[in-house]
Amino acid sequence: MRKKALSLLLASSLIFSLTLTACGSKTTETSSEKGSGKLTIWAWDPNFNIKVMEEAKAIYTKDNSKVNIEVVNMAKADVEQKLQTMLQSGVKEGLPDIVLIEDYNAQKYLTAYPGKFANLSDKIKYDDFAKYKESLMTVDGKRYGVPFDSGVAGLFYRTDILEQAGYKAADLNNITWDKFIEIGKQVKAKTGKAMLAFDPADGGVMRIMMQSAGQWYFDEKGNINISKNEVLKEAAKTYKAMIDAGITKPTSGWNEWVAAFNKGDSATVCTGIWIMGSIKAEASQSGKWAVAPVPKLNASSSVNYSNLGGSSWYVLNDSKNKDTAIDFLKKIYDGNNDFYQKILVGQGAFGTYIPAQTGSSYSAADKFFGDQKVFTDMSGWMKQIPSVNYGKYTYEADGAIMAAMADYYSGKATVDQTLSKAEDQVKNQISK
């Protein structure tokens, strides 16, 4: 009797769950008209792009109550792994409708998974956005993404430490890296502090240097440009010069790096604008920071404006609510000025939407940065960032160069040997 009851229970629960899943898949299938349905969005930073999307969701669902938006938070590597595995396997279920992709990866995804992302060429007004963003989401003349945040780079510095060493704000404006090292030596001698919080295994600063001269690991056509790239050579030399001069606070990994300037071990940090949230996390340093344009290289093409990172939104072509997804991105990210003011104040998200940059929030003075009009300055720099083609293989090149740099630091290889070794490796990597 008990056995029978148990088997009945099992059977009924099985049938029940089967009908349930059937119902579940039905509800998602029926809604396809514009202005309704469910949107799933993948992004990776709960303090940054997740919150920005939540904000966008709140604004959009006010007018479009039928749309149900779910913002899913995952680690960045997880977003990439899940997306790639699903695109590779060809399944259509389980993919998001909108996904955030890092700019360095955009060309790779767009060419490796043709037809998987929605073509937005005539849906989005690309003239509204910073010029350099548009080119990196264009493949064969078709434009795919909706530009989101900028990685406009700056030299964030501690005014108090530099003052102690006898330097004023004007001394850091539009300098070269050579001058930067010179100042660094003085800072080290007079205050005992390191000039720059710096991860020697990380190619971030190198990419800032290269883009400041309008160069990359590849030329405009996508051909490898490493061993004969004079700009890259100077960047590599500068890396070693900074380490040899002892002006860096060497760190390994993100956490140590952030800790280094939060603890006040270094006078500056040179990176993208998205670091501001982490700088401000140390409230006791309020009023002691300022930001200057990045130092430039000696190469004639180099300017004091560059970029590091940044990301954009992409719509999946297989999305069941593709039109809703596009409508959502268009209404909020390409046209809502207030939204951009809000996320700038709330999350420090520095959009690449140019019409928004005349808004009130962008011209406000920031107390943390000694009443400097940080965003006005940075939006001015953003417009002058040289545009480069990141190509499909940025991470292959970065991996190859940073691997070869270890021997250069220790003196086992010259800069030419280092670069040609890296070039050979990249060549091998991408000849498939």
Partner: protein, 320 residues
């Protein structure tokens, strides 16, 4: 199994033909039901184990850029020999194998034989304590080690306070020290695990052997080399093979020790912690996705594991 039973039956009753056929039909039903019963498990096995093995073998003859994939024959297997990244990964893996496994196994053996001594007090506490790291999560312990071994972490500041070193050691900044850190971390995590195998093996070594040796005047060290090691030989072979396979598939520890590089694509300074599995990960998810080439490398790992296992059996195993 059904067949062997059938043979027995026909042997015992060769003359009674009609009964035999009857039995055969019964056997058939049993056979069919037997297959029916295992069919479910077998289907799962085919779909989830054999199909991926065969498909990845096929994949290893293709080269892909995301969805665009082409058949390249044995090209991938030729390419690995001139791929500097693969050679770096292989070199690193071999370094970890040759340095870490012997240190760890010898340490485990010594600790096991000490803790097997009945005169040692609080044996249970020590055994538990040394085994405990083996239950921690790979990621969690690696992250802890990364914090402890940072430039101004616990290890450096301790060593400096007790005046062992003057300058902080750049544990995770220089290739050499990064490898040392990884070896220390792995030894901490896995020594206790191997010790338990040796302890179990030691329970089967009769005390009389040690008593006899003691009467003959053998020292503790002689006993260790002349009794303990020979008696534990099969277990030593087993742990060596397990550790070899584990090291060749090493992924979690180096990945997490190096992880969080602000925007980096290298694993460890100068790729010093890049292992074969780490390279497979990079090929699939960090670089232009090439699952074909990644499958080739995983088959190379299979080949190396097989080869090393055969060698270890030949060198250390019994002759039967």
């Amino acid at each position: 199994m059904a067949h062997s039973k059938n043979n027995v039956v026909t042997k015992n009753q060769p003359n009674i033909k009609f009964k035999n056929t009857k039995y055969n039909s019964f056997e058939k039903i049993q056979n069919r039901n037997g297959w029916l019963f295992i069919s479910f498990a077998l289907t799962l096995l085919l779909i989830f184990i054999f199909y991926p093995i065969l498909y990845s073998f096929y994949l290893s003859f293709t080269s892909s850029k995301g969805l665009i994939s082409k058949f390249v024959g044995v090209n991938n297997y030729i390419k690995i020999f001139s791929d500097p990244m693969f050679i770096t990964a292989l070199k690193n893996t071999v370094i970890f194998l040759l340095c870490q496994v012997p240190i760890m196994l010898l340490l485990a053996l010594i600790i096991a034989s000490i803790l097997n001594d009945k005169t040692v007090k609080f044996r249970g506490v020590f055994r538990t304590g040394i085994f405990l790291p083996a239950v921690t999560s790979l990621v969690a312990y690696t992250v802890l080690f990364k914090m402890m071994f940072s430039m101004d972490g616990f290890i450096n500041s301790t060593l400096m306070t007790i005046h062992v070193i003057k300058e902080p050691i750049p544990w995770l900044m220089k290739p050499f020290w990064a490898r040392v850190t990884l070896i220390i971390a792995m030894t901490w995590r896995w020594t206790g695990y191997n010790m338990v195998f040796y302890l179990a093996g030691l329970q089967n070594v009769p005390d009389e052997l040690y008593e006899a040796a003691e009467i003959d005047g053998a020292s503790k060290i002689q006993q260790f080399f002349k009794i303990t090691i020979p008696m534990l030989k099969p277990i030593i072979v087993f742990t060596t093979i397990m550790s070899t396979i584990g090291t060749l598939q090493l992924f979690d520890e180096p990945m997490n020790l190096a992880a969080g590089g602000t925007t980096a694509a290298t694993i460890g300074p100068g790729n010093s912690l890049l292992t074969l599995s780490g390279y497979i990960y990079n090929l699939c998810f960090k670089f232009m996705p090439n699952f074909g080439y990644a499958a080739t490398i995983s088959y190379v790992i299979v080949f190396i594991v097989g080869l090393l296992t055969v060698i270890q059996f030949k060198v250390a195993g019994d002759n039967n």
